[in-house]
């Protein structure tokens, strides 16, 4: 009797400590990335970093203002290209997704979310860059937008399905046409959740480098408009990190830290949005 109890207690302690150990091991890379990037990058961060253009090799100082602005520009374009079709496709799937075509769309969205980002880069390269015969912010935005699409689509669909059907009935009972009931009531009710999903998608593509290498390319100067090659944080980190210059390495660490904080900020605000939403009952 007692021995059985002792054995049970032992296996409880054993399994529990195994779980704790595994959790700690899983946390090690995360914490060390945070620690390492912060410790190496913090030194390179100053006002100049956010306000100045990169200096030529050999000159000290300079900053990444253009890359920072470029990243925001690219993310903005990604939202423009990715969110409207993504949300509307999600609405389609939630409303008419049981058709054969709907199932096909859902399946392709799932496959698409697994497509390597560099493949998307090549796709946009051949579709946009080769035709225009130059790199551009536009092409970079398209690439990031395509990467966002599947996430936005599936999030929208799932969240619309969570809205109680009784609200649709209420809306239809008030004499709203179906499209209005969907847009003004169903989509409106699911909006905070969808916004969260969109922000997580933005956070994901914010760190993408591969699809930008041959779409937005990079640019040591300010780029104006959408038709010029544009610098972005991930690409500049890549370029600077593989360079032989010590000063550039320091800048790359600082850029990595800024990018990390940006993504962290997006993630945290997405979570806060979920917590504070009036939302679905």
């Amino acid at each position: 009797m007692f021995s059985r109890y002792a054995r049970r207690k032992f296996s409880d302690i054993f399994v529990r400590s195994a779980c704790v150990a595994a959790t700690v091991i899983a946390l090690v890379p995360l914490v060390s990335v945070l620690y390492y990037v912060t410790s190496r990058g913090i030194g390179g961060i100053n006002w100049e970093f956010f306000s100045e253009l990169p200096k030529p090799v050999g000159e000290a100082g300079g900053g990444m203002a253009n890359a920072l602005a470029g990243s925001f520009k690219l993310l903005f374009l990604a939202c423009v290209f990715g969110i409207p079709p993504g949300v509307l496709a999600g609405v389609y799937l939630a409303e008419f997704g049981d058709s054969r075509f709907g199932k096909l769309v859902r399946f392709s969205a799932d496959v698409m979310s697994g497509v390597p980002s560099i493949t998307v880069g090549i796709f946009v390269y051949s579709l946009v860059v080769l035709r225009a015969k130059h790199f551009s912010a536009f092409a970079g935005g398209v690439a990031l937008g395509v990467l966002m699409l599947p996430t936005v689509t599936r999030t929208t669909e799932e969240l619309l399905k969570l809205v109680p059907e009784s609200l649709r009935e209420a809306a239809l009972g008030l004499g709203l046409p179906k499209w209005r009931a969907t847009l003004r009531v169903m989509l409106r009710t699911a909006a905070p959740g969808i916004a969260t999903g969109v922000m997580l998608a933005v956070a994901r593509v914010a760190g993408e480098t591969a699809p930008l290498l041959f779409t937005a390319f990079s640019n040591p100067f300010w780029s104006s408009g959408l038709n010029e090659p544009t610098a972005s944080l991930p690409v500049i980190i890549y370029n600077y990190a593989v360079s032989p210059y010590e000063e550039w390495h320091r800048q790359a660490w600082a850029a990595a830290l800024v990018l990390l904080l940006l993504v962290l900020l997006l993630n945290v605000s997405a979570r806060l949005l979920v917590r504070n939403r009036v939302g679905v009952r």
């Binding site: 009784s166 209420a170 009972g173």
Partner: protein
């Protein structure tokens, strides 16, 4: 097919002028005793209405008249088709995938199932209140009242006046006048249901369908909604589905008893509950089955 109005041919339809009877239903007992379904002006009428969910036939030929500015209760055991019936009256039935209906539903002599009639228009004239209170969770109390107007793209000249009038009408104004900006879902169940009624009334419908409006409410909230129905019947034609026979007896002038998708009997509520003509009606109201 036994239909209430037909089975009462023996009762002479003496009072053709009984249109205004609704509000004065109680003032003279003798006058009320002479009233029957066929003497009143029908606001709505169904004719051989069949309703289906996919292959299964839920309503098997319902012909029923709904008197104007009266409360008609629809009673019957679960699954008898009473909810489906009222949902056919404003074409909400067809919203469910695979659902369809045949036959005629006349609203002021116009068949609402005719090809060129817009279901959306019908629903604005025939409002609906559901079993579970369903205020819009993203809207304040005030916006919920205005939802029907606003979402339809209308801008009332004086929205505040509309809000006050409608909330007064459902006797909710005094309880919420200081918290109009708060979420409608924060109210109690009974308050939410009255808010939903106000939301329907804001569109100024002619008919109000209530699908078991009190089944999710406690007795006190139920009493308030019933009081409200007493008030509303002065200006609206009301059809109420209820599981609760006492409720039907309390609020309705007329009662229709449904069983297995058929209309068994339709008559004045006092007749149904005191001297029904059909054995099945008597069995049901005396609790022998259902």
């Amino acid at each position: 097919m036994t239909i209430g109005s037909q089975s009462r041919i023996s009762k002479p339809a003496t009072r053709k002028s009984a249109r205004g009877e609704g509000s004065s239903g109680d003032d003279s007992r003798s006058r009320w005793d002479e009233v029957s379904v066929s003497t009143l002006v029908p606001k709505m009428r169904t004719d051989d209405l069949h309703a289906y969910f996919g292959q299964s036939e839920v309503l098997k030929g319902i012909s029923l008249q709904i008197a104007e500015k009266q409360v008609t209760a629809v009673i019957g055991p679960s699954g008898c088709g009473k909810s489906t019936f009222v949902r056919c009256l404003n074409r909400m039935h067809e919203v469910v995938p695979g659902a369809r209906a045949t036959g005629q539903v006349l609203l002021d002599k116009q068949d609402i199932y005719q090809g060129d009639v817009d279901a959306v228009r019908v629903r604005r004239r025939v409002g609906m209140v559901f079993q579970k209170p369903n205020p819009f969770p993203t809207m304040s109390i005030r916006d919920n009242v205005l939802a029907g107007l606003r979402l339809n793209g209308e801008r009332p000249d004086d929205p505040d006046a509309v809000v006050e009038k409608m909330l007064q009408r459902v006797a909710l104004w005094d309880e919420v006048k200081d918290i109009l900006g708060r979420a409608g879902t924060g109210l109690s169940g009974g308050q939410q249901q009255r808010l939903c009624i106000a939301r329907s009334l804001a569109l100024e419908p002619e008919v109000l369908l209530m699908d078991e409006p009190c089944s999710a409410l406690d007795p006190i909230a139920t009493a308030r909604v019933e009081e409200l129905i007493h008030e509303l019947r002065k200006s609206y034609t009301i059809v109420i589905v209820t599981h609760n026979m006492q409720q039907a007896a309390r609020v309705a002038n007329f009662t229709a008893f449904f069983y297995l998708g058929k209309l068994i009997e339709h008559d004045r509520t006092d007749v149904i509950f005191t001297r029904p003509k059909e054995q099945r009606t008597e069995d049901y109201i005396t609790g022998r089955f259902g």
